[in-house]
Symmetry: D2
Amino acid sequence: MTDFFEGIAPVRFEGPETETDLAFRHYDPDEVVMGKRLEDHLRFSVAWWHSFAWPGGDPFGGQTFQRPWFGDTMELAKMKADAAFELFEILGQPFFCFHDVDIRPEGDSFAESERNLQEVVDYIGTKMETAKTRLLWGTANLFTHRRFMSGAATNPDPDVFAYAAATVKSCMDATKKLGGQNYVLWGGREGYETLLNTDLTREAEQMGAFLSKVVDYKHKIGFEGAILIEPKPQEPTKHQYDYDVATVYGFLKRFGLENEVKVNIEQGHAILAGHSFEHELAMAASLGILGSIDMNRNDYQSGWDTDQFPDNPREVTLAYYEVLKAGGFTSGGTNFDAKLRRQSLDPVDLVAAHVGGMDVCARGLKAAAKMLSDGLLESARAARYADWDASDAQEMLAKQGLDAIHDTVVKADLRPEPRSGRQEILENVVSRYV
Amino acid sequence: MTDFFEGIAPVRFEGPETETDLAFRHYDPDEVVMGKRLEDHLRFSVAWWHSFAWPGGDPFGGQTFQRPWFGDTMELAKMKADAAFELFEILGQPFFCFHDVDIRPEGDSFAESERNLQEVVDYIGTKMETAKTRLLWGTANLFTHRRFMSGAATNPDPDVFAYAAATVKSCMDATKKLGGQNYVLWGGREGYETLLNTDLTREAEQMGAFLSKVVDYKHKIGFEGAILIEPKPQEPTKHQYDYDVATVYGFLKRFGLENEVKVNIEQGHAILAGHSFEHELAMAASLGILGSIDMNRNDYQSGWDTDQFPDNPREVTLAYYEVLKAGGFTSGGTNFDAKLRRQSLDPVDLVAAHVGGMDVCARGLKAAAKMLSDGLLESARAARYADWDASDAQEMLAKQGLDAIHDTVVKADLRPEPRSGRQEILENVVSRYV
Amino acid sequence: MTDFFEGIAPVRFEGPETETDLAFRHYDPDEVVMGKRLEDHLRFSVAWWHSFAWPGGDPFGGQTFQRPWFGDTMELAKMKADAAFELFEILGQPFFCFHDVDIRPEGDSFAESERNLQEVVDYIGTKMETAKTRLLWGTANLFTHRRFMSGAATNPDPDVFAYAAATVKSCMDATKKLGGQNYVLWGGREGYETLLNTDLTREAEQMGAFLSKVVDYKHKIGFEGAILIEPKPQEPTKHQYDYDVATVYGFLKRFGLENEVKVNIEQGHAILAGHSFEHELAMAASLGILGSIDMNRNDYQSGWDTDQFPDNPREVTLAYYEVLKAGGFTSGGTNFDAKLRRQSLDPVDLVAAHVGGMDVCARGLKAAAKMLSDGLLESARAARYADWDASDAQEMLAKQGLDAIHDTVVKADLRPEPRSGRQEILENVVSRYV
Amino acid sequence: MTDFFEGIAPVRFEGPETETDLAFRHYDPDEVVMGKRLEDHLRFSVAWWHSFAWPGGDPFGGQTFQRPWFGDTMELAKMKADAAFELFEILGQPFFCFHDVDIRPEGDSFAESERNLQEVVDYIGTKMETAKTRLLWGTANLFTHRRFMSGAATNPDPDVFAYAAATVKSCMDATKKLGGQNYVLWGGREGYETLLNTDLTREAEQMGAFLSKVVDYKHKIGFEGAILIEPKPQEPTKHQYDYDVATVYGFLKRFGLENEVKVNIEQGHAILAGHSFEHELAMAASLGILGSIDMNRNDYQSGWDTDQFPDNPREVTLAYYEVLKAGGFTSGGTNFDAKLRRQSLDPVDLVAAHVGGMDVCARGLKAAAKMLSDGLLESARAARYADWDASDAQEMLAKQGLDAIHDTVVKADLRPEPRSGRQEILENVVSRYV
């Protein structure tokens, strides 16, 4: 036991009117919504990296946080795990996520790094025996170490490809061992800083081969979780190949993997790619590849990822509306970074960030569920396209050529009259639920 | 004959040192570069819409231009065609492009609009008999009229789908009649203003069916040109489905059209989508769908399409470098809007915009050709990936699973050392040629 | 009486649970908040231009709206006024705003345009005798007509400057006649498209002289309202001189007008300038120049002004928090464009947009008032700076030089320890009230 | 002597056709342009921080560079200085710039840090005796250390204000001792992460008082260089108070410092603020506060500072055109970061970045000088405003009220006809010189 969170009691649901600072005002895990407990809808997960491993630096400033577990020894890695599970107990959320480098010190060799990983994984496994928190997903950090500066799967050096492949094997093994429900790939360096030194064709082939190997290995070891790609358009690279959901879909089709791999969509990444979060969710659902979400938001005023906890009920409502419309999560869940601002030095700040984010999500999910149940939006949507349900419209769509349609238009002297899209009215509908 | 350009003589190549305002300083159509005349490399095209049809309005201001051919009669449409061919004679460029609505007045019915189109097409055809200018591509404007306000192929009203299909048939017929070398589709309203009233799945199916019909009709009438989609991420819509090259590729794969349709890439659209122009060109080349280009640039300071003629030699060089690396244009070419600023009222402004753009393009293509011939960039690129050409690297890529690679990494105690990406040196190489 | 809004009854406050579509759920004009009626806090105003004059065009499409009053005659201008007051009666808001060109047809000469204006002003004046709606502010449209394409006060042609000055005189007279509480200047063309043809020094001097004349004329005619500048960074121009609040402040100081002129701040313009709305409000309050607000929002996903009605309770709360903290409105109020999306063709869409916007504003103001009354944010803010209230800190600030401070630092071996900024906790405080 | 740059000879001017990689193709220091040597026009400066102190990290990755001088001892600090002067000898540029933390290790106390600074300053001073390189400006880093995380002058803790003031005193002393020609303040943390915890009024007063103390101390010690503020809109903060040139001007006016302080303008910061670089230069010149420039550019595709060396001849030409039009540099010069991409590991990359940047600047300055001497742009600009030189126009501007002007407009029936702004023609003029 650490004493890092000393004096901070487990956070309880106390309702909207409570005066307690660290209470859930909206998140009652046991509240039943659309036939399911809120906890089972939301499937919250805490992210090891920003919550426990990030030191508070930014491009113009160094470390501001002083955590007792910062350092490179196995002992400190275990103290970090202790602190993590203490936070999990305070929050009561059902899941966590990690990268290999979040939980283990780097070794002098691949083998040593792997042994370190295995030892911490065992340590975490033991803690999980007495904790309720399970593993939502594991992943490999293939972007921080200088060996990956020019990419992992897409590196011009085959040795780095090999090192990355070996690392992913270790991380998939670890994820399976801990009962992880998904395995995630975020290609932070799979892209380029300059097109001048980059061979797009080679790099795509390398990336396709790498992903195929991941899928093969999943089947080989009988890992039953989903493989998820996390799209992002840029940062740290100038261009990242997994730009957005539509780009990832094209890539999966190209390599025949569209039935094997889904996406883990992050709000901030959607924004950086020029989309709304709900767009990316709806697009993934429509393409059949919606897997899981990272709910951390960006600041619209900053041109980079800020990974803040969600705070905007309207936006969160629209996001969960798409999730619920798609049937809710199966193996996926709501992970969110609660990357503290680097001036937020205290343990209580870390707890508050998670509590605030969970509460806004709960509020959003409940609003979305009611909005979906009431059916105002969906009945308006269906009515808008209703003319397409007629058999002659379906016949035209499925069978007629341009010339046949042309003849109909001329013969019927078709003069289609536009109809209101009713956007403002629909936006007011949303306002009722937020 | 109009007297609109009275006093403006045909523009000639006079070399970089000339004092003549309206002269080509870099574009000598007959200069041979990499075994081909510049004219045949660049394949310049003038765009009918911004050059002849645009009245100078913006969202906060009305018409500023006063062209004698503005109006809605057939007579004025022919005067506009006369003026267009007078500009073509001044510039000497080999191609032009048009939308149906650029060249014909809207009729009271579809049939009348189509008759108007056919009459002007015949008029233009007659003019082409004595002119050197040919048709690079035709297209249908399915975004300006209020009937298309909620989309053309993706409209919730099947009658609008039908009207759009009939319109495209007319325009493909017209394009074929005029010997057009390509047919372009830009889906200016194929997207949405709000997700709240939109059914992404239906709209994608409608769009896929529409595009399949276009391809079928092409084969039916024996049109030998290429079918090209022009990607754009947004504007006028909040989201446009043909977001960027990678998105279009995924869409083509989804509907099995990746061998039938290519892309027409516009610089300004690439910028709006968060890419560089050269990125989109390289991506399309790598995916085998590079068709043609629209060279008009955006102002980096404005968040919307400005459609200005290209003025930046470095950027233009990088763009043509990708075109040349991909083997140059086949049916495609260099179209560019020279959308005048709305304060540029005079005929000489219109000529100057085209001359300036053509000259910068010529300069860029010559620089790119020399850069490619000298081979400094390509030899550096090949050297960077050379280790992948080894047989064991290829073997790993093609055949080994994660676990086999893992064993090699451990056994060999692999410690890959990063190598410089040499970006600055490569940027200096480019600077030598610009 | 027109029958445009036929069948739409006056909108009433019915509380959050009502099933009525067109009802206020949060805006009860008579509810007392912090000792003042909500109506008197919010001081809502309807904007003539987007609500009655805008035809639904965008840069890629023409008119979609078909209003019976569209056209250029005096009779239609009066019908437009009739329709406006019918909407005012439906909404019950206390104010409206207008540009000259919104309410009168353009004449063949300045004199005729002015006579048209005066006649419509008289017509509106008569209507106001029996209506509760008053005039929040008037303004001159110096950006739509082609004569202003290169600026009004900053035009290179002194005749345009004169025309603009004469126009503003007319509009100030009209505003005074109708009892307007403010007069606004938005310099939509006071900026440039290219620096290449622009003389920044001359244009600043022209703009300063123009503004001084406006202030002088205000005093001359005894207009008791405030003169307000509306900042915007760009669009339609590439650069607009009244970029943001801080820029306007510098301009006012330069011409000695900082005690004569305040700002009218628009949410969308703040966003375009790279700020949050609350930032611009707080900055103006801090500089003593906060006048009035335009509550219309932009779409974060679009790089241009979308002028939509506000829909985001959290953002609106933060905005009104700054207004209330500054003491609330005096002559200013809450104007907002409810620019319909161009697919929203029906009268009910127009009503819904206003109702939705007013309701979200009311909700935000009430949340802000409670947040301010409870004092959690302000007590935290005061505590954060409390050390500055000590006399030695004030002494250092006011009187000591760098060298004296240096000596203290060395002597005291000062090692300041950073303290948490508590951002997440404060964000959670806001979440309680939204 | 280090052997870091072993094998890299001093870089010489060899002309555009040379095959030498590391040669100046355009920068001949002794070439005379407009009566002055190029070296004296450009006044190049190398920036200590990115060239010698930056380890190659980014928000998603750690150190990539391995410099022999990295570390925290005085010995390594001197080795870094040795390497710096070796680079200066290779490049032959006349100036350098530094922050205190770039050149000295942090001490355990303020006093120790200051002693470290003084010792390295003496060491550098000795090196300067035999080197040609002089000091363009010094500055204090008040943003990296965690004590400054909530601001320096604007910190809520007066002790941090004091620490910052003492630091600036040290750095001004050091700058004077080394013969620095300017002293720069960049307020990297003078802004906020959230308005919720920020008192804008207090922070502005603190910042004004701080700047006044800097000016007072300058006069007290007889420092004859200029005091320069470097504007930046954001990053690392969400909002930085010295947003852009116009904002800084307003701030200076507010505290009566507009004749004491000028600006150091950085290309990348101009871009982040939504301006072009040439805009910020022209604006500063027009306001009489143009001091010096940082020529490092941003990548238009990335939403943060990339600090790359300039590579775009057209943009650089437009920038120097404004500098030359304003009379050229006096105490200022051309500093530029040549922040290597973090994959550019080798010494030759560092040299290449500087050579490339200097060459593009030289090319731009020569083009700008010719463009200014030829006078095509300036004569067009003067002609555009010529009507304002008439006495009645000046009379109207200086003396007439709105009503008098109104009477003239009516009486004369003024109908101003717009004239072409000729933007395209002027852009083509620039193309001739680039």
